[in-house]
Amino acid sequence: MIPKRAVLGALAAAIMFAAAGPGAVAGETAAAPSPTVVDIRNFQFQPATLTVTAGTTVMWKNDDGSPHSVAAQTGAFRSEPLDTNDSFSFTFAKPGTYVYGCTFHPMMLGKIVVKPKGGAS
């Protein structure tokens, strides 16, 4: 069936990926171990578009001097006002595309794309 060496190689790659994971929390757009972080800085959600698999918990952290918030256009989720260093988490159970913004600053927009669990990403 599958050559043993290929399996070992894949395992090694997986271990390396896991090891690299925690060091590269913010900014990763690939599905990563939860919680996945969106950094709020300089009046921007970073990354602006984040793709995760269903069941992933996304955490937004406000690293700005100004307060911000996280509010889905559909009302699916909404944070309290986030002062500097405050954070907010939401677990995306259902696949879909979630457009959200900051209720303080209408020019700030972000998007979470949730792929089905186990499906091709």
Partner: protein, 323 residues
């Protein structure tokens, strides 16, 4: 996404940033408005001799804005103190104003204790206060319901209202909801169709000779689109206001004074009682302005409005907390 064009491109009115900055040569924490003769008139900054003189013979009101109780950063770690100074300034006016208007951002984070503090301090003026919310007052999970429960008695919809005083028709508009269902995020403030319909009806039965004062938190005219300083659907509101002889628009939000005259409509933004904000510039976003020690009071203020004298626009007096 965000427009990062740093060039001094003109805004919708063809004004370049440089020309714009020239227009913001004066600022104040409170402006005295006079109501005499039914036409609003600004008298200048509180404390100025002209203002005191004019106010002595005419009804006036005072605009305060952006008190941001709960703000704690170096630009002003004690906004409750500076709000208190603004109220003390109002109380020291030789001719007390008829009432106060607060054009939003009473609190920093929509917290009940922040509103409690603000109410207690502003209550020191012992005047009727007309409020409209800023985006900082509707940021809690109730999405504005907590604000309405406290400040929205007798208002319509999300908190808009009108009233008549001294022959002037006052209108409080709400343009701080950017994320209600049905609202398309545009980067600018929005009034929304339901409010615009109400405004059309509210104005329809009034004669064109009625002086109008419109209050809204975010500027109704586009000052700086990149930073969201404008209102997407304000043009619709202006179409209803066009036929009136005198329309005065009082805004807050940007913590500095800008003025513009467009036909029969004059636009005025107000100083904050808490902290100034950077003027429009190439930076991707605005920020509180941290000033050298002792300078803050010069950038905060109140506005007195005089409705008297001429048949033109009302006279405004912007006065700094510390001259």
């Amino acid at each position: 996404m965000r427009d990062r064009d740093d060039k001094g491109r003109p805004d919708a009115d063809g004004m370049h940033r440089r020309g714009f900055l020239k227009c913001m040569s004066w600022a104040g924490t409170g402006v005295v408005w006079s109501l005499a003769g039914g036409v609003p008139k600004t008298l200048g900054l509180i404390g100025e001799a002209d203002a005191a003189e004019a106010a002595a013979s005419q009804p006036t009101f005072v605009q305060i804005s952006d008190s941001h109780i709960g703000f704690h950063l170096p630009a002003n770690p004690t906004p409750e103190k500076t709000l208190g100074e603004a109220i003390a300034k109002i109380n020291a006016m030789k001719a007390p104003p008829a009432f106060l208007v607060h054009t939003g951002d009473i609190s920093h984070l929509s917290k009940p204790d922040q509103w409690d503090t603000a109410d207690q301090i502003i209550g020191g003026a012992k005047k009727q206060v007309f409020h409209i919310p800023g985006e900082h007052d509707i940021a809690d999970l109730s999405n504005g319901k907590a604000y309405l429960a406290r400040y929205g008695k007798g208002t319509q919809g999300r908190g808009w209202y009108s009233f008549d005083m001294g022959g002037v028709h006052f209108i409080g508009l709400i343009n701080v909801y950017g994320f209600l269902p049905g609202f398309q995020p545009s980067g600018l403030a929005q009034l929304g169709n339901d409010q615009l319909e109400w405004l059309e009806k509210d104005l329809a039965r009034r004669p064109a000779s009625t002086p109008i004062v419109v209050m809204a938190h975010v500027p109704l005219w586009t000052i700086y689109e990149k930073w969201g300083w404008g209102t997407l659907d304000a043009g619709q509101a202006f179409s209803y206001l066009k036929r009136f002889g005198s329309v005065t628009v009082l805004n807050g939000h940007i913590h500095q004074i800008f003025q513009k005259v467009e036909g029969n409509i004059t636009f005025h933004t107000a100083r904050s009682t808490a902290f100034p904000i950077t003027p429009p510039g190439p930076e991707p976003h605005f920020a509180p302005l941290k000033l050298p020690a002792g300078k803050l009071g010069e950038y905060l203020g109140v506005r007195t409005v005089d409705f008297a004298h001429s048949k033109g626009a009302p006279a405004l007096i912007d006065s700094a907390l510390v001259a």
